[in-house]
Amino acid sequence: MISRNDKTSELLDVFRRMWLIRAFEEKASLLYAERQIAGLLHLSIGQEAVAVGACSLLRKNDYVFGGHRSHGHAIACGADINKLMAELAGRTTGYCGGKGGSMHIVAKETGFITATGVVGGTIPLALGAAFAAKERKNGQLAVVFFGDGAGQAGAFHESLNIASLWKLPAIFVCENNGYAEFTPLSAHTKVERLAQHAETYGIVASTVDGNDLLAVRAVMTGAVKKCRNDKGPVFIECLTHRLRGHYEGDPAKYRELAQLLEWKKQDPIVRVERVLRKKKLATSRDLEAIEAEARTLVEKAAEFALTSPLPAAEEIVRDVMA
């Protein structure tokens, strides 16, 4: 359903961003296969509705923290995909001059403060940003994205406790994609809904269909309002599924094909398209144009990245200290 608050133009914008993430990551996957991207590449294909749904409701001066699977979060915040692709390819024109790579994206101008290669590593950091935001009393807030795997980290629990005690304007967005790295959540905890942990610490929590853009936006709207009015923190658990492996090249043998096919039917992009068509907000042609535009932009980003220089050896001693 489309709420009254979702104006057509805004919804199409948000939808465009979902396609931008999808196209970006599909291209990244190809470049990875061609060995243009080093290390490990974690894709969020299938989870775009969470990143876009949540970030589309933020202000530029809010703080957003991601994890190891965070290209989507950065793009949802409005990151420049040229610099992002260049970073993935380790080029000097990348967001971090090539020193960060896929897992350490920073796009400060968009509010995307940092990603991390450590599971749960940014949860306490978001707490700090929320702490700083609360001090300023200007309605700023912090959002942190993490997976269900982080729910078993001590830092996660300590952060929920502190956020609750100090009523910090933090929104914890747990993308429960059912798998922590290579094993299903049930192998990591007996807790089915990570939102339960938040409730234990007295934090308002809800679980939503993370593949439903409009549902994510609806619950996020309420969370943002709460935090801006100093009524935080809020915990949102988004049930979703990554359609790729844990990282590119992961054969994902732990997952049944039938299950994957079932989730493919729930593809968040397809679901928004269905709504847009049904409500006659966009024709098939419009939708095709949006996809084509995203793919063109991504092709350009890839070209930008691959024609950018790799950093010179002297760079290693630079930027070690401020």
């Binding site: 001590g154 996660f156 929920l160 406790n161 990591h188 905890t189 007996k190 807790v191 234990t200 007295g202």
Partner: protein, 341 residues
């Protein structure tokens, strides 16, 4: 209420409570005189939790304890002479003087490692439980820790593992701050823990959890016996929060003894300084226990006083032993930090 057990057992529980009480009351002046250094923590006020709880265990069960470990070791039957010597850093100590109050151990009694890090033992306790389960030897592990440990991420991490792997471990949380320093009365939330009641934390992991009065030896005995039976029966971890009222001598950074314990106080607290009197009147678990013993006619006042007298003699001898025990040779510092194969 009194534990449902034989008269002999009740008198032995009584004796062990006295051992803890007089051991620690003797410790405080030794520290004040500079006989040993470093920080240390008293178990006084929690005897009716530790003594009956530990009496429910099998001889080969594992126990993990914290910086507040003297009571647990003594309840399990550790030699007071060796524990004193350890705290004084002597060669005859439980750890040959290398552990001190924080880290006193007694492997033969199941205490493999005592940690001075808050919550440091909680993950370790899941490790021994995991091993026991793998070896199918029927041993359980009891992890004894304070309420502050629950603020550490290590605690939920360990609860999660224990629940997930259905480990034979009893998490016995001794909340000695029921009305104590830094905590408002029980109905209010603490300034450092958002979860209330504390049993919500293990329950989130589907670990059965209950809150009990830790000053009621009979209730502790019944609850722990039941939990131990379930755990040994393969039903996975259990969590029990035993609430006690903090000993007034532990409310300062460095422990004090507001009033040396004596059996006579069970019926007359007139000699206790007024500030601490209420605790001795209604919250001192040792005095509660001996009152119940006498009221139930399991022992006369004279018998109880006799037990206490002998404990005092034993403790005095233990102090004497420890003070006269030699310090380890300096070269000992360079030994025993790698196991020899």
């Amino acid at each position: 209420m009194l534990p449902k057990t034989s008269r002999e057992s009740l008198l032995e529980l009584c004796r062990r409570m006295f051992v803890i009480r007089h051991f620690e009351e003797s410790l405080v002046p030794l520290h004040d005189k500079g006989v040993f250094g470093g920080h240390y923590h008293l178990y006084i006020g929690q005897e009716a939790t530790g003594v009956p709880a530990i009496s429910c265990l099998r001889a080969d069960d594992y126990l993990f304890t914290t910086h507040r470990n003297h009571g647990h070791l003594l309840a399990r039957g550790a030699d007071p002479k060796k524990l004193f010597a350890e705290i004084l850093g002597r060669a005859d100590g439980l750890n040959k003087g290398k552990g001190g109050s924080f880290h006193s151990v007694a492997p033969s009694l199941g205490f493999l490692h005592s940690s001075g890090v808050v919550a440091g033992i909680i993950p370790l306790s899941t490790g021994t439980a995991y091993a026991a389960k793998a070896q199918k030897n029927g041993r359980i592990t009891v992890c004894l820790f304070g309420d502050g440990s629950l603020e550490e991420g290590a605690a939920p991490e360990a609860f999660n593992l224990a629940s997930l792997y259905k480990l034979p471990v009893l998490f016995l949380c001794e909340n000695n701050g029921k009305y104590g320093a830094g905590r408002a009365a029980a109905a209010a939330q603490s300034s450092t823990m958002a979860a209330y009641p504390l049993t919500d934390l293990p329950r989130a992991y589907k670990i059965p959890a209950q809150q009990i009065d830790g000053m009621d030896a009979g209730l502790v005995h019944a609850t722990i016996s039941d939990a131990v039976e379930k755990i040994r029966g393969g039903k996975g971890p259990q969590f029990i929060e035993a609430q006690t009222v903090r000993y007034p001598g532990s409310e300062t950074n460095w422990p004090t003894v507001p009033q040396p314990t004596d059996t006579s106080l069970a019926w007359d607290v007139g000699s206790v300084p007024e500030k601490a009197r209420e605790w001795y009147r209604s919250c001192d678990p040792v005095l509660i226990f001996i009152r119940e013993l006498v009221e139930a006619k399991q022992a006369t006042k004279e018998e109880v006083a006799g037990i206490e007298r002998q404990v005092k003699i034993d403790i005095a001898a233990a102090v004497e032993f420890a003070v006269n025990s030699p310090y380890p040779k300096p070269q000992e510092a360079e030994r025993d930090f790698f196991a020899q194969s």
